[in-house]
């Protein structure tokens, strides 16, 4: 398990104090579903009598978000976070965590068509529920707001209208459909789009070669 992660040298003295913490503790996490790669090490540790797994080992196992622990290989690179002070994606596949009622989880899963929206250059992915929009115009308006949020929050720029950015053809709205093809938003009728869209990407114009002309103003 530990071989999946590399512990870099701490970026700050706080990181060092976390690492030098040496209380011997045993943390059992029995019976939780884990990916196959993790299972052997966990089971191995647990079978020994009086197993002592350091708290830090468990933190690493759970891939808990401390800044000096890098993400395991195999993680989708799109979700990697850049920028200081932010934490890597938590892949804690722990039973019953976060404490959200299973009823609620099931209900939310079924009730919407959530698709991920990636904006080239922004560190966070967002999600929109396509079912709540009735047209491309509606969707664009929502994407505008989202994009503005990105720039204001993460780059400390002054708020600027996305219409400018889209109109200025800096970003091209694209989406991946059921057949894994990348298409331009607006090419197909709205309902067909909602049904076939898997994810959306606002691509930098310089990269959107070969996708056809951007039609919307």
């Amino acid at each position: 398990m530990s071989q999946d992660t590399t512990v870099d040298s701490p970026e700050s003295s706080d990181g060092a104090s976390l690492m030098s913490f040496d209380t011997e503790l045993t943390l059992g996490l029995p019976g939780e579903s884990r990916s196959p790669a993790r299972a052997p090490a966990f089971a191995q540790g647990h079978k020994k009598n009086c197993t002592k797994r350091g708290f830090m080992e468990t933190v690493i196992d759970l891939n808990l978000g401390t800044s000096h622990i890098s993400m395991p290989r195999g993680q989708n690179s799109e979700s990697r976070v850049s920028g200081t002070g932010k934490y890597p994606a938590a892949k804690a596949q722990v039973t019953g965590w976060p404490p959200v009622r299973s009823f609620r989880k099931k209900t939310l899963e079924g009730s919407s068509k959530l698709v991920k929206v990636a904006v080239d250059g922004a560190p966070y992915l967002r999600k929109v529920d396509l079912q709540i929009y009735s047209s491309y115009q509606d969707l664009f308006r929502a994407l505008e707001e989202m994009f503005t949020c990105f720039t204001t929050r993460d780059y400390n720029m002054e708020e600027r209208k996305l219409t400018g950015a889209l109109n200025g053809r800096e970003y091209v709205p694209t989406y991946e459909d059921k057949d894994d093809d990348w298409m331009l938003l607006g090419d197909v009728p709205w309902k067909m789009f909602v049904e076939s869209c898997k994810r959306i990407r606002l691509m930098k114009s310089s990269e959107a070669v070969g996708l056809g002309k951007y039609k919307f103003s």
Binding site: P30, G31, Y87, S102, S111, P123, L125, I132
Partner: protein, 585 residues
């Protein structure tokens, strides 16, 4: 009255009583019947034998926080005149799949006892109980005065059981079905209410999914003139909702159906007018799949709203902000984190009367980072809503400084439930543990009753809790602490602690056994994935016979470790209905 003659037979020498009693039993009973608080009644019953007796004859409502703390026999023996029962069953962590299936908490034995001893039972409120269709049928057929059924987080029944209730309960005033593990095979149960049936005041089937017969629903709503609460499910369209509203302008609480309009629907104006006509609506929920386009129909209704539940509606910040501007009287708000910090800023700016805020995660289990809410949103609300005293907040990052600011703005928290969704996450700005955050909460909020902690926490957090949280009753802990000392501080320091639930913490036998004397004053203790051994549990069980010490074993785990431990006080002795995976020590 039958009960009077029974009582006289039981009284000791009445001449003696006449000398010593300050006033006769009848008067005492009348006085006591005005007491509704369970705690007051418990206190009263401890004063002396006369008061105990008067209290038990005059009590009509009973609340049982743990169904295994007492038995149906003991209950019915002590209280002969009960009309209303509230029962809670499984430990709370069963909501998050931590409790094995078939664990127990079956209502049936209780119903059988009630049929014999409380044939005039009127109300039953169940939470986390196992309820079968057979039980619901039994309920429907054996209690002619039955009026109120409320099921929250229960499982084991289907819509057939509901059909039995609708068919046979002629005096039903309330049917409240919330968030249950129900087998939802058909909506035909709703059509089982007879045409002669008119007494319904509360109908909540918002969390069922199958379609009901809308004509039957319309007729039901039309003839139940006292209907105050109507919460329909997703299958009800906007058009159908409009027709229902027109027939029930007296509604006070409304749960809409789907807010997604299809192309052939009625004009928007009809909908708006229907909403405007319901001048008494103070609680609004539902709004499944809300299309922002139609939200303005609600704006006028929002002026009087005190409770808005958008926890199943994925609204973005802009749409939500536009809506919340119209809700100046809001006292309770439940939302999804899709509204983001900007949405919460709008809450801070527009809802000065807000007392309760719950922010649920729209996508808690997704691997990639989604924005959600951060400390900024919470801080913004605290600046604008100084009366805030209840919060449930799921977020992906937090800082000690932010929490300190929040409690400085809102020192009256009674319920502070903060869930930083990544286990063991430190303050993202300083990289320090979140100890000071919760320290600030317990130091500042002297009225704190309920606390859920999260993030990277050392024993210091628990030292603070033990030292300052003198009114704390419920504490939830996960992935926190460094040593037994943490748990010990809490057990030693919190005099009013009733429920302690712990998972994935490095607390072991020493901590468990340090609470030996304490557990009888608590309702229950849950410890899972900690460091507790079977031997320690056996020791505890041996020394404290009035506690049930139950261990849930996982397959393939170490035999000496106690994976999941549930300890609770009881006067009913060890339970006999535990499944094989649950060992009572």
């Amino acid at each position: 009255m039958e009960s009077e003659s029974k009582r006289k037979k039981e009284s000791p020498n009445t001449a003696e009583l006449a000398v010593t009693a300050s006033f006769p039993d009848e008067v005492l009973e009348i006085v006591l019947s005005l007491l509704t608080s369970h705690r007051d009644r418990s206190s009263v019953s401890l004063v002396c034998k006369d008061w105990y007796r008067a209290e038990r004859w005059s009590r009509t409502q009973v609340f049982i926080g743990n169904c295994y703390s007492v038995s149906p026999e003991i209950l019915t023996r002590r209280f002969p005149n009960i009309r209303s029962v509230t029962l809670k069953g499984k430990p709370r962590f069963s909501d998050f799949n931590l409790v094995p299936p078939n664990w127990g908490a079956d209502i049936h034995a209780w119903l059988v006892a009630f049929a014999a001893k409380y044939p005039f039972l009127e109300e039953l409120r169940l939470k986390r109980m196992a309820v079968s269709d057979e039980s619901l049928e039994f309920l429907a057929s054996n209690f002619p005065n039955f009026k109120l059924l409320s099921l929250l987080s229960c499982d084991g029944f289907s819509t057939d059981g509901l059909a039995a209730i609708a068919t046979h309960c002629k005096n039903l005033t309330e049917l409240d079905i919330q968030e249950n593990g129900i087998e939802d095979s058909s909506g035909s149960w709703l059509s089982c209410f007879p045409e002669s049936f008119t007494s319904l005041e509360v109908l909540n089937f918002a969390n069922l999914t199958s379609e009901v017969n809308t004509d039957a629903l319309e007729r039901l709503v039309s003839r139940c003139k006292s209907l105050k609460v109507l919460k329909v499910n997703k299958s009800i369209s906007l058009e159908q909702l409009q027709r229902l509203l027109v027939r029930a302008p007296q509604l006070e609480e409304l749960g809409t159906g789907s807010f997604l309009q299809d192309l052939t629907a009625r004009p928007y104006a009809d909908l708006e007018s229907a909403f405007n006509n319901c001048k008494n609506i103070h609680t609004l929920s539902g709004l499944w799949e809300a299309v922002p386009l139609y939200l303005p129909a609600l704006y006028n209704s929002c002026a009087n709203l005190t409770f808005l539940n958008l926890s199943y509606t994925a609204l973005q910040s802009g749409e939500f902000a536009k809506l919340v501007v119209h809700c100046p009287r809001l006292r309770r708000l439940w939302v999804l984190d899709t509204v983001e910090d900007k949405g919460l800023e709008a809450v801070g700016s527009n809802c000065p009367l807000l007392e309760e805020l719950r922010v649920f995660p729209a996508d808690p289990f997704d691997e990639e980072i989604i924005h959600g809410v951060t400390e900024e949103g919470f801080v913004a609300v605290s600046f604008g809503c100084r009366r805030l005293h209840y919060v449930l907040y799921f977020c992906r990052q937090m800082t000690n400084a932010a929490v300190a600011t929040i409690v400085q703005n809102c020192p009256n928290f009674t319920h502070f439930r903060l869930c930083i969704m990544t286990p063991g996450l430190p303050d993202y700005l300083t990289n320090e543990p979140m100890d000071e955050a919760f320290g600030a909460v317990v130091k500042t909020c002297s009225k704190l009753q309920r606390l859920s902690v999260s993030g990277l926490l050392t024993d210091l957090t628990f030292e603070y809790i033990g030292k300052y949280a003198k009114n704390l009753e419920t504490l939830s802990v996960a992935f926190a602490g460094r040593s037994d000392r943490g748990m010990q501080c809490v057990l030693e320091g919190c005099p009013k602690l009733r429920k302690l639930e712990i998972r994935d913490c490095p607390f072991g036998n020493e901590a468990l056994l340090s609470g030996l004397e304490k557990y009888e004053s608590m309702r229950s203790l849950w410890m899972s994935a900690c460091n507790v051994t079977m031997n320690a549990c056996r020791r505890l069980a041996k020394q404290m016979p009035r506690l049930n010490v139950e261990v849930m074993k996982e397959d393939g785990s170490d035999d000496s470790q106690a994976d999941k431990v549930y300890i609770y006080r009881t006067v009913a002795g060890p339970r006999r209905d535990a499944p094989p995976s649950v060992l009572t020590l």
